[in-house]
């Protein structure tokens, strides 16, 4: 019996030995996360001329030696538009590094050259990769574009400007939030907050927006240049609805939803608000209107954009651009 036990032990010891696994290991490779940094395959782009309007995109391809943070920054040569793409993967590919023409915020890209910079912030002494791509067609907006001020003043639009204010459409691709033109106010009004306004109306009837206010977003690019600050200047919007469908807005019997947006930066700002939320004021209280009280975008007949500024602060200047309604989410510049 002693021998039996002894041989059993020997058999277990020698025959039961597990084969050395030299190929497989558990978990992700440590080399991918903690190994030395190197660029195994240089950056390549799928194209150096891209027409976003045709659905094309720029795909960045690159292979690194490890998973590490990388930042792709694309900057428009003339517009100054910026798009940033970030990731942490070892392989840059269509799955994680593609550009469809959008910017992080206003301004948007123009037909221009865009400079590409790739950096690796967690890797000391890592190289900065530079490249460029030529934009031959702009990203198509998804939504209901009311105006980007590219076509001049509409025939049904109305303007108001104080006597000391220049308020009109201005065209300069380097200054516009999108495209070339935008609406501009510039002037000193020492006696009143009102600077100027533009009332945007469709050529006839309504703007043709969908009826659901809960997934429709109003968007406008706004840039205050002088008299800036949350106590100093703001845009006041009137959304007038033709509740009875007679083609005319009557303040005494129809809904006017008012929304104000105070300036806070010197940069282009995206004003975005769900249409259904227009019936609430800045304090969250429901506005009192004279119509049926319902936010009905399909009945929207005019939008008045009114620039106001503190009269005690001297000159006031602001731009507005790209008025567009989008579905389900705010506008993506």
């Amino acid at each position: 019996m002693n021998k039996l036990v002894f041989y059993t032990f020997l058999a277990l010891f020698f025959l039961g030995c597990r084969k050395e696994d030299k190929v497989n290991f558990d978990g992700p490779s440590l080399s991918d996360s903690f190994g030395p940094f190197a660029i195994l395959q240089d950056l390549s782009l799928n194209t150096y001329e891209v027409d976003f309007s045709a659905g094309q995109q720029v795909v960045f391809s690159m292979e690194l030696s490890k998973n590490t943070n990388w930042v792709i920054e694309i900057e428009g040569e003339n517009s100054g538009a910026v798009r940033t793409i970030t990731g942490n993967e070892r392989i840059l590919s269509i799955d994680n590094a593609k550009w469809t023409g959008g910017a992080n915020q206003f301004p948007s890209f123009n037909l221009e050259k865009a400079y590409i910079t790739i950096t690796f912030p967690n890797e000391t002494d890592s190289p900065t990769i530079l490249d460029s791509v030529l934009i031959t067609g702009l990203k198509q907006d998804e939504g209901f574009l009311i105006t980007s001020f590219e076509e001049g003043l509409g025939t049904t639009w109305q303007q108001f400007n104080q006597t000391t204010v220049a308020g009109t459409i201005t065209c300069d691709p380097a200054l516009a939030a999108k495209g070339s033109c935008f609406y501009s106010w510039n002037g000193t009004v020492g006696w009143d907050w009102a600077i100027g306004s533009v009332t945007i109306k469709p050529p006839s009837g309504t703007f043709g927006l969908p009826s659901n206010a809960n997934n429709l977003f109003f968007n406008l690019a706004f840039k205050a240049l002088q008299n800036v600050g949350p106590q100093n200047s703001f845009l006041l919007f009137w959304f007038d609805e033709d509740d009875n469908g007679d083609g005319v807005f009557n303040l005494n019997s129809e809904d006017r939803f008012i929304f104000e947006y105070w300036s806070n930066t010197l940069d282009w700002d995206l004003i975005s608000r769900k249409y259904a939320d227009l019936k609430f004021d800045a304090d969250g209280a429901e506005q009192t209107t004279n119509g049926n009280g319902l936010t009905e975008p399909s009945k929207l007949i005019s939008i008045n954009v009114f620039f106001l500024a503190n009269p005690n602060n001297g000159n006031a200047q602001a731009f507005a651009d790209h008025l567009i309604f989008t579905l389900n989410e705010p506008y993506q510049p």
Partner: protein, 571 residues
């Protein structure tokens, strides 16, 4: 008052029953435990969290054993707990701590129903010791015993579960001595009726006793979800089957020898899970074999063995940890002005401030690589193979108990790299009766324990590991007069080096590693007085100071001082 009257009446009646017919027996434990703690941290680092905590409780576990007939016993235990400061019923809780029916059916089958304590083998069902002690001082172990008692971590490494257990044996006059059968089924988790199926845990052992020297056993255990307890077909199933052999014999009048081995396999199925991360089937195997030499004079036990536990060997009953290191401690949970969560330290575990397990975990629980990187999931820790040696000297007059534990283990599969880690562990400890050396009547016992663990892995700079941790336990107990003892204790823990903490997803699969650099020391000094009213009744008053120094970049140094009173009574 009425309640106290009932209790006194019960006590009176029970004593009478017990004395006359032994049909009713009352026993119990009473405890008073009070803490006054101070967080010691630089005020510049923490000026927002309260630095003081005072709390405590008194409790009574009143147990009743009823013997309705000669073959049946009903055991119940009721806990009345009153939190310190919860006057007039506020903070008082009443719980059923145990309800068990047990007996022998037909003079053949032993059974247990209700709350049962279960253990099988170290690879199937085994509640292994938590971190932070090696032959520690009595001033610490007395408080650790409170945790063990409360969490049902009974001597013998059992798990407290709820279910049913049976056992019976057959004895033979020829060919073999006996065959014994035992089995159990317990409920681990109730269903929520929507997404979580009911989970059961069951197993059993068939032991074949060939003769007084040799026995074999087949052990099988399963953690599984019960079908149709939710309106979904997902089901988790883990099976572990092992075969063990035990042999004992005599070499001569002075030496016995023995051989123990256990080998088996596990498989895990995530059935009908739509999550792509859920593996279809994971299986692996293990074996563990050891020789034992037992010298009778002096009484020394030597145990030399080799084990190989596969990386995918999952045995929840044997690998569930007592301490959940993902949870913050119960006292001073947050510290620093940034309100950081404080990690569990060695004294939190002693003081019942850590989160402890009371259920079997289907996932390998997170562990602190500083405290135990060698066998963090017990003897059945997966992905370990190598030799171990245990030596123990027992019952010497002057040396009450001495032991040495050495292990040299390796990974069988790399973690994040093809290179394997090596683990070296050296432990030793002794209790020395100093009074016996000098012939003193009053007991003076010194105890000492040391454990030094080293983890290494070579390779490129980014994958190298070099981690060393040391735990030293000192203790002294001196009987100064009558039943009054002075107790002193010290713990020193140091961990220095680097490791990659393994992160697992919900399906036990390694999905990432967290690089950690360690350079910490923990020093715990404790002094106290114990008065033994009797062997089952004592009062401990002690002061303890714990300091944690973290020398890594951004590490936070802090300490916790505490004064506590512990009164225990068993009757």
């Amino acid at each position: 008052m009425k309640r106290i009257g009932y209790i006194l009446l019960l006590l009176f009646v029970s004593q009478n029953f017990w004395a006359q017919e032994r049909k009713f027996q009352v026993n119990g434990d009473a405890r008073g435990y009070m803490f006054a703690k101070n967080m010691l941290i630089d005020p510049a680092l923490d000026s927002i969290n309260a630095p003081r905590a005072n709390y405590g409780h008194t409790l009574l576990d009143l147990g009743f054993s009823i013997f309705p007939n000669a073959n049946t016993e009903i055991i119940s235990s009721f806990r009345i707990r009153n939190e310190l400061g919860g006057f007039w019923g506020g903070g008082v809780s009443f719980n059923v701590r145990q309800l068990t029916l047990r007996g022998v059916a037909g003079n053949v089958v032993k059974y247990n129903l209700g709350d049962i304590d279960l253990k099988m083998t170290p690879y199937t069902l085994y509640n292994f010791q938590e971190e932070g002690s090696i032959n520690e001082a009595e001033i610490f172990s007395l408080r650790r015993q409170v945790v063990h008692y409360d969490m049902f971590y009974m001597p013998g490494n059992t798990w407290r579960m709820q279910g049913a257990q049976i056992g019976f044996g057959l004895q033979f006059s020829k060919f073999l001595k006996a065959i014994e059968f035992s089995g159990f089924i317990t409920r681990q988790r109730p269903t929520d009726g929507i997404t979580i199926p009911e989970r059961l845990f069951g197993g059993g052992t068939i032991t074949w006793k060939q003769n007084d020297h040799l026995s074999f056993a087949f052990n099988s255990i399963s953690l599984f979800d019960l079908t149709r307890t939710i309106n979904d077909s997902i089901r988790y199933k883990n099976n572990v089957n092992t075969f063990s052999v035990k042999y004992r014999n005599t070499i001569n009048d002075h030496i016995d020898w023995g051989f123990d081995a256990e080998a088996g396999s596990s498989n895990v199925n995530y059935i009908n899970y739509v999550n792509p991360l859920a593996p279809d089937l994971q299986n692996d195997w293990f074996y563990d074999a050891s020789f034992t030499l037992n010298f009778k004079k002096p009484k020394i036990l030597l145990n030399l063995g080799y084990k190989d536990v596969g990386a995918d060997f999952f045995s929840p009953g044997a690998q569930t940890k007592r301490v959940d290191f993902t949870k913050f401690p119960g006292v001073f949970q947050q510290y620093t002005n940034a309100a950081l969560g404080r990690q569990v330290n060695i004294t939190d575990i002693i003081n019942h401030n850590a989160a402890y397990s009371y259920q079997i975990s289907d996932k390998l629980m997170a562990y602190d690589v500083a405290y135990n990187n060698i066998n963090p999931h017990g003897i059945a820790t997966p992905n370990r193979r190598g030799v171990y040696l245990n030596a123990e000297r027992c019952d010497s007059v002057k040396f009450k108990r001495s032991f040495i534990q050495i292990a040299q283990l390796f990974e069988s599969r790399g973690m994040g790299t093809n290179l394997k880690k090596s683990f070296t562990s050296i432990g030793a400890g002794t209790d020395i009766r100093i009074n016996d050396f000098f012939g003193w009547k009053r007991e003076l016992v010194f105890n000492f324990g040391l454990r030094h663990d080293i983890t290494n892995r070579g390779g490129e700079v980014f994958e190298k590991i070099n981690l060393a941790s040391t735990l030293v336990d000192f203790g002294l107990s001196l009987n100064i007069v009558g039943k009054l003892d002075i107790l002193l204790g010290a713990k020193y823990f140091q961990a220095k080096g680097n490791e990659f903490v393994t992160l697992r997803n919900a399906f036990n699969t390694v999905n990432n590693f967290q690089a950690v650099d360690l350079d910490i020391t923990e020093t715990t000094m404790a002094a106290g007085l114990r008065y033994k009213f009797s062997e089952k009744n004592q009062l401990l008053v002690n002061y303890q100071n714990h300091q944690l120094k973290n020398r890594t970049t951004g590490g936070i140094n802090y300490g916790i001082s505490q004064f506590n009173i512990l009164y225990t009574l068993t009757f």
